[in-house]
Amino acid sequence: MLDHCIKCNICTNACPVAAVSDRFPGPKYVGPQAQRFRRVGQPVPDAAVDYCSGCRICNLVCPTGVPIAELNARARAQMVAERGLPLRNWLIAHTDLIGRLSAGPQAPLVNALLGWAGTRWLAEQCLGIHRHAPLPRATRYPFRARKQPRLGRGKQVVYFHGCATRAYEPHVGAAALAVLARQGYEVLVPPQNCCGLPLLSNGDFAAARRAHMANVRHLWPYVQAGVPIVGTSTSCTLTLKEEAPELLDLHSHEVQAVAAATYDIFEFLRHLAERGELCDAVRPLEQELPYHMPCQYRAHRIGQPVVDVLSMIPGLRLKLSPAASCCGIAGTYGLKREKYALAQAVGRPLFSFITQTGSSLALCDSETCRWQISHATGVATKHPIELLAEAYEL
């Protein structure tokens, strides 16, 4: 509620975009302040709100609990409802479709095409996708839904892989399956949709609603049977947990139950550890690695489950990225021509932290953040679950 704002400007100080750009007047301004001047049915008068990346750092620091990022997302959605979604945003918001089109036997061709500077130049000119923006490489062998084992036998868990694991990073999915199996779980991978976050953050609420409701339909039978849903993409799980229900005003019993049953994978593993059920047969990894907790992960408000769980690996030392640092990519934000440079500027403190560690590998839970970090620093990145799988020698 915008009513809670006491104008203290703490959010403005914390916002990584406002810190590097004059085009963005900051969370207080575009959020609770500007909202008093917007009304349904009249055009949104300030396009500047579109420069909010949706990182939610403002929400975290606000002392009075104003959901600023949500106000911004709604204002953007109102703009999209008025002016329509630009083709570029439509494309990059439909990660599911793009992933399906590029992953598979055609992947080498797609990758070659996207690797060619001419194509990227064209894409920048025609679509407004920045020529240097970090695009992932499609995989030949997409991560696929398994044949369905029957529900209700023994310890089961549903894996929510998200678009990125499916089309670009099947190895993250494989690691997750293996780690969960090591805990004695049978892992179910039912059919699933994009979580809808790229649609939400590009303001296409109608499509996001369809995506979320389809997921709820797919997942509801499992949730009803008491099977938890576990995901490796922190933004997908956040969307299932709260972004979609809150922004789309979806509050049915099913939606709530799915939200309550959804866990980030390390959150889930930490629960197991707390109950003494986490397999601790790990080999030592003598390594010091930088770890960046993505903004969307912080927004779960669950502490630092990765740090907690990986602390059982002997020899492993994690160096945490500076508090409230952001890589800038914010999903699809940093791909956009007009925002690419800004997103790089936002990420600069994080990038220099990572390069200063001198490590050739960095850990980060979110796929788009990993791509951005690798792109900007040249440092390879992994999902922490991959490291855990290594420690289990899986």
Binding site: H4, K7, R36, F37, G41, P45, D46
Partner: protein, 564 residues
Amino acid sequence: MPYETEVLIIGGGATGLGCALDLALRGIGCILVEKGDLASGTTGRYHGLLHSGGRYVTSDPQSARECARENVILRRIMPHCLEDTSGVFVVTPWDDADYADQFVANCHAAGVAVQELPLAELQRRESLLNRAISRAFELHDGSADSFLAARSLALAVESAGARIFSYHQLERLIRMGDRVVAGVVTDRRSGEQQRIDCAYVLNASGAWAGRVAALAGVQLTLVAGKGTMVAMNHRMVNTVVNRCKYPADGDIIVPIHTVAVLGTTDLHVPDPDHYGIEAHEVALLLAEGEKLIPGLSRYRALRAWAGVRPLYQDSGQRGGADRAIPRTFKLLDHRERDGVAGLISLVGGKWTTYRLMAEEAVNLVAQRLGKLQPCRTAHEVLPVPATEHRAHLPPLRGAAARYGAQTEHKATWPINGLAQPWGQNEIQGLDADYYYLGQHLGAVEQSQAAGDLICECELVTRARVLTALEQGIHTLDDIRRTLRVGMGPCQGGWCVYRTAALLYEVQQTQAQDAPIDPNMALRDFLQARWKGALPILWGDQLRQARLDEQIYVGLLGVDLIADS
């Protein structure tokens, strides 16, 4: 040297300013004196409603008719002061369902355009309204910025050659026999006295009119009816919402600028200068508001204030409730009434009808002075002050200004079977230049001024504050009335010390007759804001007040400023 003029107007509210403009446009010399800032009386302390007339169709059809007519005229002459919100009268479970048909019949009888609004459409437009509302009617209500209108009127008055003395209080009226021939006014800043000789004194001093008349030895009894209002932090509705019932306390919500205003109450007060706001009034407004918007009292209230109605009772008709006293205005010629020539009083009425009141009063004066020029105020479009964003920004045009791009709703006047209230051409003119909610936000973005705001809540740029200061608007309270500085959620927490600093800077560079001590100005302003916040100090606004207190008392030590 005494001044000399044909007409001396007492009171710089809407009525007095309207009279001044009318006189000046007819070529009749006049001077207006106002004891405070323009619009610092009831005009600046009202509810903000541009009446369609609907509120009075039952209790006072004459007023309703006047409002309906003036509504059309004001839309033409001061669109920049008005927002075309439209208005609905809704039947809630607490209201007599039978009244609705009578209401519509009364609207028709009074020439007030009305049409029934399907409930689905009502809910689509105003989703927070009570779902138990059983019927709704749409009328031509709007909201109006009376401060801005006063500034525009003053500009027009001055460019027509008349003079306005604000902060000049009428102290005495001088009679020669049974004729008033001059007034003596005190400049409240310098303390100097000034005599103004005149042929007529036009008493437009609102709730104070009895006191002014008494200066000429004339007895004029007014009932001072205090009305309290509460401003909520944001607009829960974008349409004026009235209960469809006989007018009573707390039955209307007006969206104006960034706030929604609940009102009003009606209590007798002995003194129009001194009255408090009672807790039970605020409680009543919130409780009644809940009937229209369930959950309303959990939203943030910003402040409460009150204005006094100058209700005139002819000596014959005493007794009865205030609301039963006709609100239509009275033009009192004291020569006929009391045998004192040269004095005319204009009391009662509404902001919406200020122009009509002025026209009738000036007709009388002009006739007495033998001046034959007709009234022109219905057609002279008022100027936009330079302190407005609008001066630099093209207005939102057409239907978008009215209900926005997505809404198919267009005002479908004329309404079946009703005489068309105004001509088609006029309607086309109407759409053009209204104020709309996003105007300031759009202007700040357009001028890339987000980093240069003095008042962040109400989006007032440094440039606008400087313009106001350069135009001689110097007290912080006047700047508030002109620009809305300090009227938003933080209630001055961040903007007032900045404004005081600008005031200091400007005074350093421009020689002043009576310079204002910025520290004192700051302290007095905060004191006044505090008074308005007290009646609603809970929840979010209490938190805000604590922060403001930390800033001004903890950090800046404002409480240590000694009286100069």
